[in-house]
Subunit: 402 residues, 2 copies
């Protein structure tokens, strides 16, 4: 008898009618003889509504109370889904985060899972129940309710699946899987059938909104197959995230991230430790630096360029200017008109010609590259933001012929 | 340092503005140097809304899931109220039923409190917190969420107060206390300043909607003063429910219950055990019988009349007719056009003249009495339902001169 974990997001469980559709997927696995655990998010706009009511009270809510408040969203969904399954004649039971329990750190709003006690779930499986678990929430060792932040329900699902040594974890969503690019930019995006964890991690962090990094990391750690598929398309086979990828190199996707700004520290003294000082200052103030390019030359001074998130730009520029003498620079320049375009694929860095193909696509379309960085599975370039959609289309055309 | 428990109902906590008003009462007790525990209900129509959503799924919800669903109402209120107090600069913390914990039987929808572990509350008091507790809910020993049914938040408040050996338990409501009759019937109702537990129990069960019986019973058992007062009238002194009543007899109130039907079992054989058989049959089918009158006579047969709730009438009549041969009766008659009018007051039964005054008021107004029953602190009569408001006014006039 296999164990399957399924996760349904907020729009998949938005109302009574959709809950019925969700039940079809659950019952299918149940009737195939599997033990099924189901993880759900809050219905539709429930969480947004609670947060807007909270704002009427305070702009700066106590974090523990905030978690107690927003966690009711998933509690509503689990009880409704269990009732729906019972109404259809199946034995189902709901568990909140603390009932499982999913034990977390006490970092309210961004709690990390310490461990999951799976005894209760296994006991309920033995009694023939379909077990419905609230996503996004856990309980600290002090018995406070905690929540996980963005992508939290995916994280619950994969963590529960890992804890149960499930055969698979299915993440149901609005779309049919993970795509080779953003369908709002590229017309004929290609659904990815298989992708490995590392590629998925790059896709997630590059702005493909399908799976949250935390859940992919857990899947990778426990080598748990994660399947992303559509709630509403019956025939959806989705995208399988696992480590059974082919040996030969494939480009999985082309991504765009517009939340990119560039800072150039001009006239930095050419002394040992100067570069380190700049990045230490930024790190001490929780500003993450992404792509870095340093000009080398014969000169006494050098220029240091790097990209950061647009949202960090203002504080970073102020920080550098406040410390300009200390870091030994002449001037801080910045640009907030860039996007980062990346291609993701296993072994990219080892294959000659992939980078050349990417750059050729941009060259053929007269698109200038500002900064370039590469990793084992990714090549990124910064381009002018106004050119970014054209850049994505040109590169996608190059690798996918559409 | 004293301990005070305050309870605020659904309309008192309906929105952000009202939560601020509620805080005034809490802060007043806190600033007087008391440890304050606050029990709250779900906001306004929250529970009704959840139940109507539930009905879209099923007419017959699983009771455990129903409790998990509706318990979110109070969880929303506790977190919002704690945030509101924090926003005002006070240390406050919320506790759900399971976080306290309030441990109950597992009768979902009508759970009884087994015990309250007050360690956490006392620890939080020691750390200077105002403690906000979800009403209406607890947790079974199997860690399932349970709820208490009607009047559940009052019960939580009085039980928490008893467990903490609080100096008082204040039940805040829309009105200024407990009144001598229903203001919709009698113009010049009198607010009761002091009332004892037994009288309050009779008033509650007679349809005065202020306090639920369960909470009055707990108050009586632990001799805990309960104060019913208005959330919105600052000067409200309310009604004190305790055992410090005066020795002399006072009529506390006049009540009306329209949920009354009468059944007459005609031609019952005059044999030992016949009456018992009728009531055993009803009791076995969970039908409560209230006032009973049996005609005695020289005849072979007798008639047995009794009152029951209107809501039980249909099933009771069917039950009796189905078993008419077995119980040895000729015919079952029933009337669903009665109301029960009661006067409540300590020592009524021992004081000559009280019953006479009541009957005189009815006689003077040409109101016919169908059945009469008396107890230590109550005299009830059944009258035609269409006469019932007139009856209440006549009796109230007699005893309160208005």
């Amino acid at each position: 008898m296999g164990i399957v974990v399924q996760k349904f997001g907020g729009s998949s469980v938005a109302d009574a009618e959709r809950l019925l559709k969700v039940c079809k997927h659950i019952i299918k696995e149940h009737n195939e003889g599997n033990n099924v655990a189901v993880v759900v998010s809050a219905q539709g706009k429930t969480t947004d509504k609670l947060i807007s009511e909270e704002r009427e009270i305070t702009k700066n809510p106590n974090k523990r109370e905030h978690d107690t408040l927003v966690s009711v969203g998933e509690q509503i969904t689990i009880s409704k889904l269990a009732m729906t399954l019972e109404e259809l004649g199946y034995k189902a039971i709901s568990l909140t985060g603390w009932q499982v329990p999913i034990v977390t750190t006490n970092e309210h709003g961004n709690a990390k899972i310490k461990y999951i006690n799976n005894e209760k779930i296994l006991d309920l499986f033995n009694k023939g129940y379909i077990v419905i678990i609230a996503g996004f929430q856990g309980v600290s060792e002090e018995l406070d309710i905690t929540t996980f932040g963005r992508g939290g329900s995916d994280t619950t699902a994969v963590a529960v699946a890992a804890s149960l040594k499930a055969d698979k974890c299915e993440i149901f969503t609005d779309v049919d899987g993970v795509f080779s690019s953003d369908p709002r930019i590229v017309k004929n995006v290609k659904k990815i059938d298989n992708i490995c964890y590392d590629e998925m991690l790059e896709l997630s962090s590059m702005g493909a909104k399908v799976l949250h990094n935390r859940c992919v990391e857990i899947g990778k750690k426990y080598n748990l197959p994660i399947i992303v598929k559509s709630t509403f398309e019956e025939s959806s086979r989705g995208t399988i995230v696992d480590n059974n990828y082919m040996e030969n190199i494939t480009i999985s996707g082309v991504t765009k991230d517009t939340n990119v700004a560039r800072i150039t520290v001009m006239g930095l003294e050419n002394k040992i430790g100067r570069t380190y000082n700049v990045f230490k200052l930024l790190a001490d103030n929780n500003i993450n630096v992404d792509v870095i390019v340093q000009s080398f030359g014969e000169n006494v001074n050098k220029n240091l360029s790097f990209s950061i998130k647009t949202s960090d730009l203002e504080s970073a520029v102020k920080l550098l200017n406040d410390n300009i003498e200390n870091i030994g620079a002449r001037e801080i320049r910045y640009f907030d008109n860039l996007s980062k375009i990346s291609i993701i694929g296993i072994g990219i860095a080892n294959k000659t010609g992939v980078a050349a193909d990417m750059f050729e696509a941009l060259y053929e379309n007269d698109i200038n590259m500002h900064l370039i960085s590469t990793s084992e599975i990714k090549i990124s370039v910064l381009v002018d933001r106004e050119e970014s959609d054209r850049a994505v289309r040109a590169i996608h055309q190059k690798f996918f012929n559409n």
